[in-house]
């Protein structure tokens, strides 16, 4: 078909592609996006431009994701430009994101395109509610945003604007204004940006310092930026000789008897277990671990990087250092704990710090402390137990650094000496042994299934009801694994069960997977 379209000259319209500079600010409510918007509008107006901004306050401003949009252009022969009220995908000059996932969202909205857009984004994270409520790890993958920025942005200016602002005693809007000036996309000089801030008056000094720091950071590149904290793989370098002779014996044994790929994790595990109880307990840890590694070797672990021993080194340490009253009291009374709080609060010499703990002990916790035999005797007497529980089971506000309360916690923290005779220890040990038996039974037949069973330990966490719920999820998961253990894809199912159990609090997802398994396995 012949193209009959005629190329019209548009003399009256002038340069039809000439459009205003457009800036979208994507933020969360309460991040000061409105202030930044006003600054940019003022900046443009100070240069005789026509500037228009729009935003959508209302509910989005209650911590939800929101967007501010600015267009600016000089007037022509006294005529004002007609400015749009919403950003058009593919037609945005600058996108400023006050949080990293919001930068991702702006890309998904099509606001960031390679022909046009300078993306200024802070790479700090403020987690969304959906990321926080997951019982496991629900944190979104930052790498995906970095990857998308790489293909979507024409120019990218990415650093932790939030940290920079805090370091200079201001808020992120000032840092973003500085980054915008540094990016040089607007035809205004640095001084005119500063004029806008100065005119604001209140808080101008901190804002200007932050502005300058961000401006310089954009111009000169990273210097003061700390790498974001990601979980660090266990250190693999050999440790210097420990001071305690008994402990050094254990470390020597670890180096000798634990397969090399699992040694780093085993060292971390050993440290945790000794810190929890004592060196003898560390020896017990090592005994079990070495036995497990023998099973691992016999099951062909050498070809699998000793995954079974690696998993055991981690989860056995966690299982052995269960969260009992003694541990909590010990941690709360340590000197390092107070030092950490003081530094977090930036406490100065002339301030006084108190802390209040919110404890709610139940009779179960008290029983856990008792010698195993006595505890079981008591457990068999529900009426007596109920009577005692009514006296014990209530919320207690503990003033940590008042002498009487500190002494109580200190004494409880010192009960390590009797811990290994306690009912809680007996229960934990039984549970641990059963779990390890399950795993060693499995690993000989289906190596990966053995590893998965070890990893199920991750489901047991929390205190009181949360702990019971975790245990129940753990038990249900292992029971469901039993149903499929003969299948070739048993390890896949085990992994699926564990992941489901970590998805939500009550375990609805887990129940779903279990029902699926029951539908074909029974």
């Amino acid at each position: 078909m012949r193209d009959e379209r005629v190329r019209l000259a548009l003399p009256a319209a002038g340069d039809a592609t000439e459009r205003p500079i457009s800036i979208a600010i994507v933020a969360m409510g309460g991040q000061g996006g409105g202030v930044l918007t006003d600054w940019i509008v003022q900046l443009a107006e100070n240069h005789g431009w026509v500037a228009q901004s729009t935003s959508v306050p209302g509910v989005a401003q209650r911590t939800g994701a929101t967007i501010y949009y600015i267009e600016a252009m000089p007037p022509l022969d006294g005529r004002k430009p007609i400015l749009s009220l919403m950003p058009t995908p593919g037609d945005v000059d600058v996108v400023m994101a006050a949080e990293f996932m919001e930068a991702g969202r702006s890309i998904l909205r099509g606001l960031v395109t390679p022909e046009r857009t300078t993306l200024i984004a802070s790479n700090h994270r403020s987690f969304a509610i959906g990321e926080k409520i997951v019982p496991g790890n629900g944190i979104a993958d930052k790498g995906a945003v970095t990857g998308a920025i790489g293909v979507a942005a024409k120019t990218e200016i990415i650093f932790d604007l939030n940290a920079l602002a805090i370091a200079h005693g201001s808020v992120i809007s000032a840092a973003m204004f500085g980054a915008l000036a540094g990016a040089g996309v607007l035809p205004f000089n640095r001084e005119s940006y500063l004029d806008v801030i100065r005119a604001g008056g209140k808080g101008a000094k901190a804002s200007i310092e932050t502005f300058d720091a961000a401006f310089d950071r954009v111009k000169t590149g990273p210097a003061d930026v700390a790498a974001p904290v990601e979980p660090r793989p266990a250190s693999t370098k050999p440790a210097p000789a420990p001071l305690d002779p008994q402990l050094s014996g254990l470390v020597a044994r670890l180096t000798r008897e634990v397969p090399v790929p699992a040694q780093a994790m085993a060292r971390a595990g050993l440290r945790k277990v000794v810190d929890f109880q004592d060196v003898a307990y560390g020896a017990e840890y090592l005994d079990i671990l070495v036995a497990l590694s023998t099973t691992d070797r016999n099951a062909g672990g050498a070809e699998r990087d000793y995954a079974f021993t690696q998993a055991a080194a981690k989860h056995l340490a966690n299982a052995m250092s269960y969260d009992d009253v003694i541990r909590v009291a010990d941690l709360k009374t340590r000197a390092g704990r107070r030092a950490r709080i003081e530094s977090e609060l930036e406490l100065s010499q002339d301030q006084v710090l108190h802390t209040t703990e919110f404890m709610h002990p139940r009779m179960e916790e008290v029983m856990g402390l008792l010698p195993a035999g006595f505890g079981r005797w008591l457990g068999a007497r529900p009426r007596l137990l109920g009577w005692l529980d009514r006296r014990v089971n209530k919320g207690r506000r503990v003033r940590t650094y008042s002498l009487p309360w500190f002494l109580v916690l200190y004494v409880v923290g010192g009960l390590r000496s009797i811990r290994r005779h306690s009912l809680r220890h007996a229960v934990e040990t039984d549970h641990r042994d059963q779990w390890l038996r399950n795993a060693t039974d499995a690993v000989g037949i289906n190596y990966q299934l053995g590893v998965e069973i070890l990893q199920c330990r991750r489901l047991v966490k929390g205190y009181s009801d949360t702990h019971s719920r975790g245990l129940s999820k753990f038990d249900r998961t292992l029971a469901a694994i039993k149903l499929v253990e003969r299948r070739e894809d048993a390890a896949d199912w085990a992994r699926r069960l564990r992941e489901a159990a970590l998805k939500d609090g009550p375990g609805k997802e887990l129940d779903g997977v279990i029902r699926t398994i029951e539908s074909f396995a029974s």
């Binding site: 009220l85 395109t113 509610i129 990857g147 979980p231 440790a239 941690l331 000197a335």
Partner: protein
């Protein structure tokens, strides 16, 4: 007292001839009302018109100087009824609210007003909360204008145009004895722009004059036979008068070339985005110099038949750009053209989407399709249009879709409503799920994660009424939640009164945070702050008892989660008959912080002993289960990854935005969660006694700590 001060904006209201106003659209509207000589203004707050109410509430001096009466109305119906002052007297009046929700509430009064007609100019400013960022159902105010016959102004999003139209709108109202609605969309309300000011005008006739010289005319009252007469007046007198005025004053605008084979008819509010779309197609420059004839309807009701006919007469086709559904304008224009037998084809919702925002991108597609069908030659030299599709299709961006988490709005840090829902969650765990009717307000966020509480919401203050069907004996009782805003808006009668009268056994929770917080923290009857211009401190509990409720519990500190939980449990299980009303009161934290923060900073600076509270989490005690977050959702309670290879899951962490409300500790205690939370009290400017006590305690504690540390095995080497 609103969430923020409007002192600076009040100054803008004083501007006069020769000054330039620069600021938000809704404030330009406020200024325009004063320039039009209004005698009274009322309304009910709500996005996007809250700032109109806020700035007037702070502008006592300006209003007093002009002799203008301002009222914060009890609800939109009250505001609309206020306009009756213009029925008999030549008083100009204006009211404002969020639409369509507010217009729904106001309809009864509006219909009566529009039937009898007005003497003084009346204007209803409706914030059209439609499209992205809206918090309500997606409907159009247009229908209300048509059904009651009120003129509907829909100005171009330009301060100059809006202000001008408001001034003209009052004249239109007076000429045609008909109330006028001014429709402004969310973004136009919050749009920064400028206009050349005029002096404010004192009302020629004041409210006082009217009170002192009362008038009545039974023919203005809606009662047969007058009501039949009103209908005839509407058709025979008022409509023609309005059409004449709109034409004579050229309230609608013609843009672009006088002739053309095709043209575009649009609501005024669509103009800016239409121009942008035309620009993308190479048919306009950035200054609105368009190659396509445009008919911009700044008045969308009534449709001026003669103007439409004139615009369409020489054209092959026209495109109607009309946001939202149904397509009232398109239908009206089709009728006009058929009646006059004008052959221009009418396009509209066939090339444009039926619902949703008409963004420049959407219009670009629609106008392009329209031109492809009708006059493709015009697309001849279109420059490449912006297009994000290629980048959106890239695998790296595709992958992002699965990653970026939803970020719904939620309760603020320290919100006093959070512990109420935490308590409801705890009760749910014990007594099972109940039917919960939610209401409008911040507390509606309970329907979202982490609480997931609330089955329906039927309108402001109607949470309790929406449980009224569940009035039978059953194993469980219904629960209704309502805010103090909704309570005074209508919930006292429609909810509590209704439940008392019908002997409803359900549970009614009234969330009292001392303001209408969701709309920006305006004062209401039960606000606790002293307000010189209003009578506050009227007790909700007394009101509820006064209307006949017997089982009433007041909780004065919502953060007491244990008490909240026990009270709810009692309400759900007690044998007492009739409604169980729980009034849960604590101040909105946003407002409280605005009040308290400067006081505290000042006290610290002045050397006064001050205790600052903040919460924290012991990261080595926290097991990373996040059960606490599932009962909270506080923005300051987050998670962090530890630098520990043994820990797979992040632990809870509290950032420095914490205001120390106490919810974390209360929930941990009431829910028997875990001992990780602690409250840190930092005493600024401690007394000598504070210092001495702490010094003694810490020296003993330090000795004990050193003693135990000596017995610990050194683990540094294992790090």
């Amino acid at each position: 007292m609103a969430e923020r001060s409007f002192a600076r904006e009040v100054e803008d209201l004083r501007l006069g001839a020769g000054d330039t106003f620069r600021g938000e659209g809704i404030l330009a509207i406020t200024k325009a009302l004063l320039q039009s000589g209004v005698a009274y203004v009322g309304g009910y707050q709500g996005s996007p018109i809250s700032h109109l109410m806020d700035v007037l509430a702070d502008a006592k001096d300006v209003l007093d100087d002009l002799g203008v009466v301002f009222q914060s109305s009890a609800n939109e119906a009250a505001a609309a009824a206020m306009l009756s002052a213009s029925v008999m007297y030549p008083l100009r009046g204006a009211v404002a609210w969020k639409s369509t929700v507010g217009t729904n509430v106001a309809s009864d009064a509006l219909a009566n007003l529009a039937s009898g007609g007005v003497t003084g100019g009346t204007m209803i400013v409706v914030g059209e909360d439609y499209g992205e960022g809206s918090s309500i159902m997606q409907e159009r105010t247009h229908a209300f204008a048509m059904k009651s016959q009120m003129w509907l102004l829909d100005p171009r999003p330009d301060h100059e145009c809006i202000v001008n139209l408001i001034e003209k709108g009052f004249e239109l109202s007076e000429v045609s004895n008909t109330p006028v609605m001014l429709e402004v969309r969310v973004r136009a309300c919050h749009m920064h722009g400028s206009f050349a000011c005029k002096d404010n005008v004192r009302p020629a006739h004041t409210i006082k004059d009217a009170l002192n010289n009362p008038k009545r005319d039974v023919n203005r009252i809606v009662l047969p036979p007058a009501a039949y007469e009103h209908e005839q007046e509407k058709i025979k007198t008022r409509m023609p008068a309005a059409i004449g005025f709109i034409r004579d004053n050229r309230l609608n605008e013609w843009m672009g070339p006088a002739r053309g084979k095709v043209g575009i008819v649009m609501q005024g509010g669509m103009y800016n985005n239409v121009i942008r779309a035309l620009q993308y197609l190479g048919l306009s420059d950035a200054y609105g110099n368009t190659q396509v004839p445009l008919y911009v309807m700044n008045v969308t009701y009534p449709v001026i038949e003669a103007e439409v006919a004139e615009f369409c007469l020489d054209k092959d086709a026209v495109l109607i750009v009309e946001e939202g559904q149904p397509e009232y304008l398109e239908q009206a224009i089709n009728t006009v053209l058929r009646r006059k037998d004008i052959q221009a084809r009418v396009h509209g919702k066939d090339v444009l989407p039926m619902g949703g925002d008409y963004t420049a991108q959407v219009l670009l597609g629609g106008i392009r399709d329209f031109l492809e069908k009708t006059e493709p030659r015009l697309l001849g030299n279109r420059p490449p249009a912006p297009d994000a599709v290629p980048v959106l299709g890239h695998p790296a961006v595709e992958k992002l879709k699965q990653v970026v988490p939803a970020r719904p709005p939620g309760l603020c840090t320290g919100c006093p409503e959070r512990p109420i829902f935490a308590a409801m969650k705890l009760v749910e765990e014990e007594l099972g799920q109940h039917h919960v009717s939610a209401d409008i307000g911040c507390h509606l966020f309970s329907i979202l994660p982490p609480f997931n509480i609330g089955a329906t919401t039927m309108g402001f203050g109607l949470g309790p009424a929406s449980t009224s069907a569940f009035n039978v004996k059953a194993d469980k009782r219904s629960i209704a939640v309502m805010g103090d805003g909704g309570f005074w808006h209508n919930g006292l009668t429609s909810g509590i009164g209704n439940a008392v009268f019908n002997k409803h056994d359900g549970v009614f929770v009234i969330v009292d945070n001392f303001y209408t917080s969701a709309t920006g923290g305006q004062d209401i009857l039960s606000s606790r702050a002293a307000n010189k211009r209003r009578k506050t401190n009227n007790s909700i509990v007394q009101a509820v008892k006064g209307i006949g409720a017997q089982w009433v519990r007041q909780i004065d500190r919502t953060y007491d989660v244990g008490k909240m939980r026990d009270t709810l449990k009692e309400a759900l299980t007690t044998a007492d008959e009739g409604p169980k009303v729980i009034v849960a009161s604590s101040e909105c934290m946003l407002n409280k912080q605005r009040r308290v923060k400067p006081q505290m900073s000042k006290a610290i600076k002045d050397g006064v002993r001050t205790v600052k509270e903040r919460f924290g989490v012991d990261e080595d005690v926290c097991t990373g289960d996040h059960a606490c977050i599932r009962l909270s959702g506080c923005p300051s309670l987050s998670v962090k990854q530890l630098d520990d290879p043994l820990r797979d899951d992040p632990v809870a962490a509290i950032d420095n935005s914490c205001v120390g409300c106490g919810n974390c500790g209360e929930v941990a205690e009431a829910a028997v969660l875990c001992p990780s939370f602690y409250r840190a009290d930092v005493i600024h400017n401690p007394s000598r006694w504070d210092k001495l006590k702490s010094k003694v305690a810490m020296s003993v504690i330090g000795w004990l700590q050193r003693r135990r540390d000596r017995r610990r095995v050194g683990l540094e080497a294992l790090a």
